[in-house]
């Protein structure tokens, strides 16, 4: 599904140039659950942003579903993104002014799904995430675990092929954290590819494979058995 080759990303300030990704090459197959680990500043989030087409690489190739996307325009990337990729963030990133239902509905609006179809699909996914009873609440009225369920619901409502999760349990206690990992595992078992950035060895054990980064390069790969 994903093949990156010799990917490079630099951050420049007036004085220094920092290498975030250094000739990184990775391949991820459809249906995999991959965890990316490494110390702070190793380039995990940068990699995730590039994989999610939120950011451009400076050098190298990124083939997504057999399409080279490394130098796509913003419009093309956005289009590819909204139909194929769902995001889960550490800080949930729900919109405070919208209800649970409206938050989850948002990606469907942007992909042009008709209103009646949207209601059906949002209710379906809220049900699945066991958060239906909270559909008319605002994010601030929910616990952290509930908020992350809403965020995952939002990430999957469009039935993406790939879910990118950036420390999905980082803001949660262990019980809620485990729930979220179970949810992601279920999704993966139903065929969704998942790439997750995490600091937690515990969470990483849910994945099939751990890619460890250091200074923008993949140093170790662990295959989970």
């Amino acid at each position: 599904m994903i093949k990156i080759t010799n990917l490079e990303k630099f951050y420049r300030t007036e004085e220094v140039e920092t290498i975030a990704l250094n000739k990184l090459s990775i391949e991820i197959a459809t249906g995999e659950f991959v965890a990316i680990m490494g110390p702070s500043g190793c380039g995990k989030s940068t990699l995730l942003n590039i994989l999610g087409m939120l950011d451009d690489p400076d050098e190298g190739s990124y083939v997504f579903n057999e399409i080279e996307v490394a130098h796509f325009t913003e419009r093309k990337r956005a289009d590819l993104r909204k139909h194929n990729i769902g995001f889960v963030f550490q800080s949930f990133n729900l919109i405070d002014e919208l209800t649970v239902f409206e938050n989850v509905e948002l990606p469907l609006i942007y992909t042009g799904v008709p209103a009646s179809e949207r209601v059906k699909r949002v209710e379906e996914v809220l049900d699945k995430m066991q958060i239906m009873h909270r559909r008319n609440h605002y994010p601030q009225q929910l616990s952290g675990g509930q908020q992350q369920r809403v965020a995952i619901a939002r990430a999957v409502v469009n039935k993406p092929k790939l879910i990118l999760a950036d420390e999905p349990t980082g803001n949660l206690d262990s019980t809620n954290g485990n729930d979220v990992m179970e949810l992601l595992t279920d999704l993966n078992e139903q065929g969704t590819t998942i790439i997750m950035v995490t600091h937690s060895e515990h969470d990483a054990r849910y994945s099939h494979r751990i890619i460890r980064l250091l200074d923008g390069q993949a140093v170790v790969e662990n295959i989970m058995v």
Binding site: A78, F87, F89
Partner: protein
């Protein structure tokens, strides 16, 4: 402590440079505009106040309605003051001014000799030495007591003395008027302040007037003024004077029948400039309506600017909740925080005010040009300006600073630091209200400007019943005497000249002559048709392009035409006769005269379009005051030099004075043009200030919603969706403003249009255009920020956790 406040204030302002600049700029422009308007209004309100007894001086004004003619007249009769003298203890002094127009001489021209040439002067009036008892006109040479007492004496102003003699001590010198009479100068007065309802350069002694020009009862035109004793009962005095007027009128009974009336009004001197709309005033007055309009605009612009300032200040201050938390944790009492925020706000207001004063000073010459004023910063103006500016600084500074000062400082530090306090943009009902308020004012002003321009355009293009294009008016042919007739004939021969006519009465000129005309010789005042009565020649109608409806034009071949008249349709309507052609009309002036109606002409506008066309009559008589020349040429320059050559051949020592009729016409509406220009300038300023605020608020909103925009982009929103989302919030407010402003503007401008007898209506597209303009301007302002926000990389906004 205060140093700490100032330091924090300074650094905080510096940190948010953009906001600070917008804030200071908006307030400065608003305050500067408001200052200019204040200068204008103060100037308008200061008319005639240079008179020490200004509050006790009144002008006797007459209001009359007779046979459908209703009007208010600034002039009353010559014998009136004598009749009052000694009979009314409440009258301390009285005086009169007789302008040339009240002398019924034609042409009404005064030419004074300077060296070998004659200079034509307009600011000439006849007066008595008692003028100095009533008005405050300090003398620089001579004595008031010895001035204007003898026939053929004159008092002139300082600058006139310099103009004719190059010095001011000229008592005893003489001036020659119209080549015939010699006037001895008995006094030189200081120039009359510009803020005066009369502005004369020459005061000629009343006793110089020939017997034939001193009129009795029944002929108004002399301007009579009274200096009243303090506490005089004005109502009672008006009633008493009315009794005298009616007693001496032609037909006392006429005033009480058929809806006719006569009223005497003692118009306070201080009301003459702005509140008196009487006819035949000594100078064109101002209008209290425009003073009100500009005052309102000034206040509105100041409000817009203040609202801006408050809006931006409060928007920005909500970002500082965290600072409040930290300061409180570190032990700051609430009152210190209040003081800190207020200091900051007052500091910015102070800086803005200083810039505003400087801006106003820079713009004053431009504004003077626009408003035709001579406003200046003087020590006197500073005496009221400085205290009021201090009040403004404190009030605006306090209001703008009060939200952060009192609201933010009340937060519990722990809530703020945990981020529990909503610091978002939404829920800013007050802010939305203020934006609506600003845009309502802007839209109101746009509609106002469009209506004014539409009306001016309508006036410009309206068919006037005469053809004002390609007509040259030579205005001082009076100096040629009988040779004017020769010039007329010679000009007619020039190639490029279609026709010429001799008369100082032109549809666009100033010379007017009202007279009473009667259907029979009984001169029954109840049947009076008050009409303009213009001496013209047989080429007049052709040259002016006035159409004949019935009958015929004057003809040099018909000797009886000297008693013939051509009347307009308005005259026919008022005259009442079914078929007025060939009927006789009587006039009583230096004996009874009989005229014969030989023609009826189409109505033409000879007064401002504010007035309906009233009766006008042409009479076949010589008036050599001006020659109008209808031309048809592609080489005006050549024709003009030929015309000047002809003039010089006849009168080598006189300068020719001429203008084109369409320019004269436009000059009639100069005050409306001026109002239009001022209006459009203020409107532009108001909108600019509102947009500055909107720009700031949009930037702020985009900043506040940065994270939301990021999330939406990640979820698939494209740039246009983000832009429209950000813009819609504000555009909605602009639409609400349109709904609020439109009816108010419609009502106000409808009222303004009532001033014109001939007016356009407020079309729907004016409202649509105003609304559309506001929406487009607002959208452009906002999209600048929205596009910037929408193009941001979402990674940036989502990273910070």
């Amino acid at each position: 402590m205060i140093r700490n406040y100032l330091k924090t204030a300074y650094r905080s302002l510096l940190k948010n440079k953009g906001f600070t600049v917008l804030n200071v700029l908006g307030l400065s422009i608003g305050l500067a505009t408001c200052l200019l308007i204040v200068f204008y209004v103060v100037d308008e309100l200061s008319y005639d106040r240079y008179n020490i007894n200004a509050d006790r001086i009144v002008r006797i004004t007459e209001e009359a309605r007779l046979n459908g003619n209703a009007g208010s007249y600034a002039g009353t009769e010559a014998p009136l003051l004598n009749a009052l003298k000694g009979n009314f203890p409440e009258i301390e002094k009285s005086t009169k001014l007789i302008p040339a127009s009240a002398l019924f001489i034609s042409p009404q021209k005064f030419r004074f000799k300077k060296g070998s040439t004659n200079l034509q002067e307009h600011n000439v009036v006849f007066a008595n030495s008692d003028m100095f008892d009533v008005f405050t006109l300090p003398m620089v040479d001579g004595s008031p007591l010895a001035s204007l007492t003898e026939p053929h004496t004159a008092v002139i102003t300082e600058s006139t003395a310099k103009k004719y003699f190059n010095k001011t001590n000229v008592v005893g010198q003489t001036l020659t008027l119209n080549d015939t009479s010699v006037y001895k100068i008995t006094g030189v007065i200081k120039d009359i302040p510009a803020q005066s309802h009369f502005n004369y350069d020459f005061f000629l002694s009343w006793s110089s007037l020939p017997e034939s020009h001193i009129y009795g009862w029944g002929v108004s035109g002399q301007h009579n003024y009274l200096l009243l004793k303090p506490g005089a009962n004005i109502k009672k005095l008006e009633a008493e004077i009315l009794k005298i007027e009616i007693k001496h009128s032609f037909s006392p009974a006429a005033w009480t029948t058929g809806g006719n009336y006569l009223k005497i009004i003692l118009t306070p001197l201080l009301d003459i400039h702005l509140r008196s709309d009487s006819q035949y005033q000594l100078a064109k007055g101002g209008s209290i309506q425009y003073v009100y309009i500009f005052s309102v605009i000034g206040i509105l612009i100041l409000l817009i600017a203040c609202v801006n300032f408050m809006n931006l200040s409060t928007a920005r201050s909500s970002n500082r909740a965290k600072e409040v938390g930290v300061r409180k944790v570190l032990g700051s009492a609430r009152k210190f925080l209040v003081a800190q925020f207020l200091t900051e706000s007052i500091l910015v207001t102070l800086v803005s005010t200083i810039i505003a004063v400087f801006l106003a000073w820079l713009l004053l010459p431009l504004f003077n040009q626009m408003a035709d004023k001579h406003l200046a910063f003087t020590t006197q103006s500073l005496s009221w300006l400085v205290p009021s500016l201090i009040v403004i600084v404190l009030v605006i500074g306090f209001l703008a600073g009060s939200y952060p000062a009192f609201f933010l400082s009340a937060f519990q530090p722990i809530d703020v630091l945990k981020g529990k306090v909503a610091t978002g943009f939404k829920g800013g009902f007050l802010r939305s209200f203020l934006v609506v308020f600003q845009f309502s004012i802007s839209i109101f002003l746009i509609i106002g400007t469009l209506v004014i321009y539409n009306q001016l355009n309508y006036i410009h293009n309206k068919s006037l019943g005469f053809n004002r294009s390609q007509v040259l008016v030579i205005k001082n042919t009076g100096v040629l005497g009988n040779q004017a007739k020769i010039l007329k004939q010679e000009l007619k021969q020039l190639p490029g000249v279609v026709s010429t006519t001799l008369s100082s009465y032109t549809p666009t000129g100033d010379d007017r002559n009202k007279t009473g005309l009667f259907p029979d010789a009984t001169i029954d005042i109840k049947k009076d048709v008050l009409s303009e009565f213009w001496p013209v020649d047989e080429d007049y109608m052709g040259t002016m392009g006035i159409k004949l409806v019935a009958g015929r034009n004057f003809s040099a071949q018909m000797p009886t035409d000297s008693m013939g008249i051509i009347v307009n349709e308005a005259f026919v309507k008022r005259f009442g006769a079914k078929d007025p052609l060939n009927k006789d009309v009587y006039r009583y002036s230096v004996g009874l005269q009989k005229f014969h109606i030989i023609g009826i002409m189409k109505d033409f506008n000879y007064e401002s379009l504010k007035e309906k066309i009233s009766p006008a009559v042409l009479t076949y008589a010589l008036d050599n005051g001006a020659i109008s020349v209808r031309i048809h040429t592609t080489d005006i320059g050549r024709l003009m030099s030929q015309i000047q050559d002809k003039w010089k051949a006849i009168s080598p020592n006189q300068q020719i004075t001429y203008s084109f009729m369409d320019e004269d016409f436009d000059a009639t509406y100069r005050s409306e043009q001026r109002i239009g220009t001022i209006f459009i300038s203020f409107t532009t300023l108001a909108i600019s200030i509102a947009c500055l605020g909107l720009f700031g608020l949009a930037a702020y909103a985009a900043e506040q919603r940065k994270k939301e925009i990021g999330i939406r982009k990640v979820l698939g929103a494209n740039i246009s969706t983000i832009i429209s989302m950000l813009s819609m919030d504000f555009i909605k407010l602009v639409f609400i403003s349109i709904l609020i402003a439109t009816p108010i503007a419609w009502y106000a401008m409808q009222n303004w249009l009532q001033n014109f007898a001939y007016r356009t209506s407020i079309h729907w597209y004016i409202v649509a255009l105003a609304g559309g303009t506001a929406v487009v301007i607002a959208f452009i302002t906002i999209s600048f920020q929205s596009i910037k926000a929408a193009l941001n990389n979402p990674v940036e906004s989502l990273r910070s956790e």
